[in-house]
Symmetry: C2
Amino acid sequence: MKLNYSSIRQTLDFLLYDWLAIEQLSAYPRYASHDKDTYSAVLALCERLAAEKFEPFNRLVDTQEPCLDTQHAVPELRLPDCTSQACTAYAESGMLAASHDFDVGGMQLPCVVEMAANSMVSAASIALKAYSMLTAANAGLLMVHGTETQKKVFALPQLQGRFFGTMNLSEPQAGSSLSDITTRAIADGQDHCDDPLGPRYRITGRKMWISAGEHTMGDNIIHLVLAKVPDETGALPPGTGGISLFIVPKYLVSPEGHVSAQRNDIVLAGVNHKLGYRGTTNTLLNYGEAGGAIGYRVGALGAGLHCMFHMMNEARIQVGLGATMLGYAGYLQSLDYARERPQGRPVVAGQHVQKDTRAPQVPIIEHADVKRMLIAQKSYAEGALALQLYCAKLIDVQRTGTPQEADNAKLLLEVLTPIAKSWPSEWCQEGNSLAIQVLGGYGYTRDFPVEQHWRDNRLNMIHEGTHGIQAIDLLGRKVRMQAGQALQLLLSTMRQTITAAQQQPSTQGLAADLEAAIQQLQAATDAAWSRGDALRALSNASHYLKAFGHVTLAWIWLELAVHTHTAKEASATPAFVQGKRDCARYFFAYELPLVQAWLQPVHQQETLLTDIHPQCL
Amino acid sequence: MKLNYSSIRQTLDFLLYDWLAIEQLSAYPRYASHDKDTYSAVLALCERLAAEKFEPFNRLVDTQEPCLDTQHAVPELRLPDCTSQACTAYAESGMLAASHDFDVGGMQLPCVVEMAANSMVSAASIALKAYSMLTAANAGLLMVHGTETQKKVFALPQLQGRFFGTMNLSEPQAGSSLSDITTRAIADGQDHCDDPLGPRYRITGRKMWISAGEHTMGDNIIHLVLAKVPDETGALPPGTGGISLFIVPKYLVSPEGHVSAQRNDIVLAGVNHKLGYRGTTNTLLNYGEAGGAIGYRVGALGAGLHCMFHMMNEARIQVGLGATMLGYAGYLQSLDYARERPQGRPVVAGQHVQKDTRAPQVPIIEHADVKRMLIAQKSYAEGALALQLYCAKLIDVQRTGTPQEADNAKLLLEVLTPIAKSWPSEWCQEGNSLAIQVLGGYGYTRDFPVEQHWRDNRLNMIHEGTHGIQAIDLLGRKVRMQAGQALQLLLSTMRQTITAAQQQPSTQGLAADLEAAIQQLQAATDAAWSRGDALRALSNASHYLKAFGHVTLAWIWLELAVHTHTAKEASATPAFVQGKRDCARYFFAYELPLVQAWLQPVHQQETLLTDIHPQCL
């Protein structure tokens, strides 16, 4: 059941060239040397990588979980060979440094192209992709916040694929509540500030949920670790303001970049056995059991979260993209199945429910309920992909646009990021469930890939900020920031789409529906905060997030429907264009009405969720 | 993480005695010898069974899938020992024959008590329970449709736990479309009608998705197999009218009940490796590879589906109950976790989103969003359990009530069964997803039981009639049958609840909301059929099913809220009663508004799902 990449490419071409008009990015000096040929070559490269090095091994890494090799003094975690081969191929493609400057070996690609190309690799194997994704994120952070030596010694080898990287935030007792981390960093000697690799500390503590935390690939693993520096009494500063960030390599490295054979004081304390995403090993790491792991501070004391969250918008969009492509993979695979599988006969038009039992069976794609499950998946996956690429282009504009453009892009990103992270995590997983349903009993077996997508995708509502955290971020912070400017900018952007849609008879009705939904959303936002009570307002934040997400995706679908009228890409065939319009029609007829239902308790300032006594649960 | 059975028992006591007033069933002669003590003893028995023989092995049977033992001439499928031990303990409890007559060794228990008692076993291990459930269903069918000899030889040994039973409906090419089965039954010799075990045939064909299809437990496996008898030209009759039902034992049995060492011509052709429900082995069986398996017809020629569907209401309610109890288990386990796990601090009431970071962390049950996830699970699981028991009581009334009572019970059952099957399959699985979310990263690991519930539950939307099939059954048949009488009876039953709810200030608002929802449902039903076109109407059947389900559950919750005012059970503590009222309030505030959204396309007779061309998907 191979992925139909050309179908993804067809949609990517429409989104990138017809809709987002990314060729115009070449107007920015940073991208001046690129053109459509560059971009298409990168897409083709990643399609080949996905098909050859990732997809064929996606089931294998689900079933062959990493095993502990205890033949060494320190037990080592061995991954299936295909993991290293996929990571090597990805590194050799240059994609690890895709968005970085030419002068550090990068391609200076726009983020939107990087994400579009990566989308196919994610669809092929999200779990195999994670190693490279984490490495790129780690290096990306260091390239912004590290010293020149830190960049050279720790970041560049990652961009070249020689080192791997991780992010160490959570601890067993502190997941969503980072202010409660207890990992300590103590200045390592009088001369700790003189180390060329950065202020040197000894790190002790336990870090949980560390993806790619231990393996034997590459020459080293660079851990980025959040920890607190105790005050003179030994107490840890409360809150998140006391958190700093440290580079803690698995093997010590000299300032000249020489990797020592000496292991740092980091012990693999446990391997988590997960429901899905099993190809990405996930670990509990103990730091400093033998006195303290050596770590080098990145950024200022207490600026750890600031450094980490600098990357957070992009990281969250990456998670959303992963969720999206799992949804996309399930959609394409269940679509192939539905075209091939004969079963039953259509109901005959007429008063009674009748079928012509002497007629041959039809492919199940002929049944209305199967069409429903396919168009729902298509609207979730393609809509989410469009949103992720829209956000990725905003990142590009924020980096390279005029100050005014950059400010606007940043504001839009702030308010869209919780949606880009949470919406695909929820709805593309629902899509994966529909893919199972299309395949019926076969979908419930491990002989087909769709059940794995469903399991893999379930992680995405949990990591990089749970759904509940995204909801509080949206209603508690993003729609209120700068006196509501981010929200107003988004709504006015949506209204530009509405204005365009009013010009076309086929989209006028949808335009009116979106306008009504926007007004409901605005009214609910006001109602939530009308008492000026955060506790009350936020108790309905998750329902608000759901509604906000669906309004956003309705807008995306209206955008796409409008742009089908000017599609120039050769791949935009009549059936392709009609499919996009059908999706828009589906989303407005079947999904958008849910907005009002979700907003009702927000609007009515329902207090049940603060009223309930835990004893009554 | 042990299940809190006393919490389930507390709710069962309220539902059985305070709400359904099952003690009144003793007025029927069949149950005259029973009283509350009998019922409570049965519940206690099943609680012990669940805790001792099922729950401790639920993870083991998930990880130790059956293996082929090839040391024998015919390979045998070996299950972990705990499977046989659980089945034996269940048989020894007498529960296999719980609802059967005293004179065949049964307990003559009402179905509602049998289901209530079984609910705890299902919560403990749905996969281990399936062997007994299938055996009881097989025997139950034979006790109704079999000859006296068939009952004695094939059914009673199952009720005693000596034989196991299966149901063989699907084939690799015919799942939902039973009219397309190709398994053949040919009369076995001139004297085939003279066999004391019933008309004797030779069966050839392949049966797919056969749960418990092969194992070495007990003395025999009795397969109930649907097959077609070809006409004189050798052609199979089209449609479902040509389907007959056959008893096909794994080992041949003499009319005196002696189990022969001779195996019937049935070969295990494959074992399905599933996403969940792994403790129930699931097989592909080939019949008649060596010439034809011997089978004895049950019931008349062509009456196979009639016999099978006689048990279908009950079987579908059983599936719903299984889905419900998976939801219940996840609810209780995530509730326990939420009470214990400290994480974060509540938002302080006030204008800004602030937390007191110097205060200690609170158990996560204090957070509004965690309360949301718990009350949602509670409302799904407890509401669904109430619905299943309501339906079970209808089965009792249908069997033992006056003709008028029985007719009404039958009508209500017809229209409620698609909901009882589909609603818990969808919403208690959503509950299982929320349970994972409450546990966060831990919930995503196999160290906790909630991920398994979520995987196990995913089957329930597929087997015993998919969601789509239930939807067509409801909108295409059930709400139209007898000129809409079943629907009208249900709505008038709901309106009795509304009338009662209007008497209490605390439920008046809910009563009005339910009345509004009923009117929307009625209007949508009329709109769907207003053109008298089945093809169009049924294209929106799945959304109609969703809406109908939520209206039904809102009615159930209103019923329960009303009955909290007269609860007499000692277990109905103030917190318990308040918890039920909170659930009702939750369901009406957060869930019921979805009804209007789902009905909108039904109401508007949206034709998208028939309009879409497969090429555009």
